[in-house]
């Protein structure tokens, strides 16, 4: 087991990551995927369905363990960590934005954002304070007391973005974040990602939508579980 740590030059670094689902049937979802994401990047990972992008997202987010290879977050090898340690990594270094938003019903927008800090050991008052600030940054400072079902789809996704950023993670993983949004809200959300990126947030955007990927400075295309191309603008 290689627990050697590297210098935190990269926010995220993958070395020959493979993932095999034992099946049956046995599925080789990823084969020798290597890539590195520098701090402050806005990276698009593009692939059609079945290309392995969801598996890659899960591995990058430490929600799934690769079959082989190593992965470094801020220079620290996370392969071989215990489930508990990985939870710790997620609570502090990774932010998630999902296609379905996954806001908790019954919690206000502000509370949903504060939930991003729930497992970080920060006291409740400070969580709310930071959530309020973050909600302001995504332009929803005035909507904090509203419940998710009182918000539009675009607003809900902004709340989810705020939740993903509130703990100041090393990078944000956005999985088809515009998949449930209309074109207007899609444009607006992509603008938000660009702004946040300009302010220093590392964003990894996983999508099948080439239009959405346009705003990324760098695009990695996945095909059949392999990196097909890696292009910088």
């Amino acid at each position: 087991m290689n627990l050697e740590n590297r210098s935190p030059q990269f926010a995220l670094e993958l070395k020959e990551i493979s993932k095999v689902y034992p099946g049956p049937p046995v599925v080789q979802a990823l084969s020798d995927v290597s890539m590195s994401v520098t701090h402050g990047e806005l990276l698009g990972i593009i692939g059609s369905s079945g290309s392995g992008k969801t598996t890659l997202l899960h591995i990058m987010g430490t929600l799934s363990i690769p079959s082989s290879g190593s992965m470094f977050i801020d220079g620290r090898n996370v392969v071989g960590m215990s489930d508990k340690q990985l939870s710790g990594v997620r609570s502090q270094q990774i932010g998630f934005v999902f296609q379905e938003f996954f806001l908790l019903p019954g919690f206000s927008a502000l509370e949903n954002v504060a939930n991003g800090l729930l497992y970080s050991g920060i006291p409740s008052d400070e969580r709310m304070e930071r959530a309020f600030e973050m909600l302001g940054r995504v332009g929803l400072g005035h909507r904090g007391n509203h419940l998710p079902n009182e918000l539009s789809g675009g607003e809900q996704q902004r709340v989810a973005v705020a939740r993903a950023l509130v703990h100041n993670p090393s990078f944000v993983l956005a999985d088809e974040p515009t998949g449930n949004l209309d074109s207007e809200n899609t444009a607006s959300l992509m603008e938000l990602f660009s702004t946040l990126n300009e302010e220093g947030t590392t964003v990894i955007l996983i999508t099948h939508d080439l239009e959405v990927a346009k705003s990324a400075q760098r695009k990695i295309t996945l095909r059949d579980g392999r990196v097909d191309s890696d292009l910088s603008r």
Partner: protein, 405 residues
């Protein structure tokens, strides 16, 4: 190994305080109030039943014990038993005097049943006696029984000589006589007797509740009756009651002491307390079954909650929740549910006990162990019911939990 960066990571732990655990655990209930309320009904009924049953039985026993205390356990009944001789044994006519000579005895009162019917008037057919018996009694009967009168007065030196009668509580009720103010006469063994008193129930001699009591002299004069005592009630000082009991047969019938039956009147009450304990066990068993059903109900609701909230579990794992945090959340939810049900059950149980006890004029007794037991068992139930769903939630793979289809 170069660990220049290691320090930055050593505190990469997910943390959640107790207050947050409680708040997260209760969130599932806050957002699904109706379901939460319905799912605790089983526990509420079970705990309410147990608290109510234990409370009622304690209140009831307390009442019986209070009765027992008031009535005393030092009343002996002496009567003729079956002897070895073929003819029916009976007490001798001087048995009362002989018993009175036993040192620790301070009250002796004889009674004898008289064959004959008791009717409200002389028009009623002979057969319809309403189960009331005529009893000749000594004047201190009421004192020996520690009984009291509902109305009128008991027989005295004068009234025991004449056709006057005192009715037991049940006898008065069956005859429809409520008080003694109306100079009510009754047709007793084909003679008119005037009712001068009605007794309150006598718990130590329920037979007397169904009797019409006349004086021995009046029985002799008007009912052509001359029989020796049949049952003698004896009060002795409590500390000597066993001694008195053991010398009683030989005192009453020195020749054939085996023909004398001595009993303790309060044994009946004690048997009633014991009998109520038997019922208690039965009902506690039923309450336990209700609790078991309630437990399964909560476990069921929790399993459904885990399935329904798969995405929430996935999200929380993504936000950094450990398996332990997820398990704690659902276990807390289950505990809150059952404790909520338990507390409601205790309140309902106490209310039922109080209402019933008040309606029966009992003193309200709810032992602390019943309340504590109710709450504790609901905690235990929450733990048991929540364990499997919590484990299931905790062991759900995050990627599986995040799937939307």
């Amino acid at each position: 190994m170069n660990d220049s960066t290691g320090n930055k990571f050593t505190d990469l732990h997910s943390k959640m305080g107790l207050r947050d655990t409680f708040s997260v655990g209760s969130s599932g209930l806050r957002t699904r109030r109706v379901r939460a309320a319905l799912s605790v009904v089983g526990i509420t009924i079970g705990i309410a039943a147990l608290v109510g049953i234990l409370g009622l039985s304690q209140s009831g026993s307390a009442d019986l014990l209070k009765d027992l205390d008031a009535l005393g356990t030092n009343l002996l009944t002496v009567q003729a038993g079956d002897g070895f001789r073929s003819q029916q044994a009976s007490l001798s006519s001087d048995a009362t005097a002989m018993i009175d000579r036993i040192g620790p005895v301070y009250e002796v009162s004889a009674t004898t049943k008289i064959a004959g019917g008791v009717f409200l008037n002389d028009l009623i057919q002979d057969g319809r006696t309403k189960g009331i018996t005529i009893v000749a009694a000594d004047l201190n009967l009421l004192r020996a029984q520690r009984g009291s009168l509902k109305s009128g007065k008991f027989l005295d030196e004068m009234t025991s000589q004449f056709p006057f009668v005192v009715l037991g509580s049940v006898a008065a009720e069956r005859l429809g006589i409520r008080n003694t103010s109306g100079k009510q006469k009754i047709w007793l063994k084909k003679k008119w007797f005037m009712v001068i008193g009605i007794m309150e129930p006598l718990p130590l001699a329920a037979d007397l509740d169904r009797s019409a009591i006349v004086g021995y002299p009046a029985a002799g004069k008007f009912l052509e009756f001359e029989e020796p005592p049949e049952i003698i009630y004896v009060r002795a000082y409590p500390e000597h009651i066993h001694d008195v009991r053991s010398v009683m047969p030989a005192t009453v019938n020195p020749e054939n002491p085996e023909e004398v039956q001595v009993g303790r009147a309060s044994d009946v009450l004690e048997a009633r307390i014991a009998a109520s304990d038997t019922f208690l066990n039965l009902f506690v068993g039923l309450g336990a079954v209700a609790l078991l059903v309630g437990t399964i109900g909560i476990a069921n609701v929790m399993v459904i909650a885990v399935i329904e909230r798969r995405n929430e579990i996935g999200l929380r794992r993504a936000l950094g929740a450990t398996k332990f945090h997820i398990a704690s959340q659902f276990l807390t939810e289950s505990l809150l549910l059952s404790v909520l049900g338990g507390i409601t059950g205790v309140v309902v149980g106490i209310s039922v006990t109080a209402i019933y006890a008040i309606s029966r004029d009992w003193s309200i007794v709810i032992p602390v162990y019943v309340i504590a037991g109710g709450i504790l068992s609901s905690i235990l139930i929450g733990g048991i019911a929540g364990f499997y769903p919590a484990m299931r939630a905790a062991n759900m793979s995050p990627t599986e939990a995040l799937r939307t289809k």
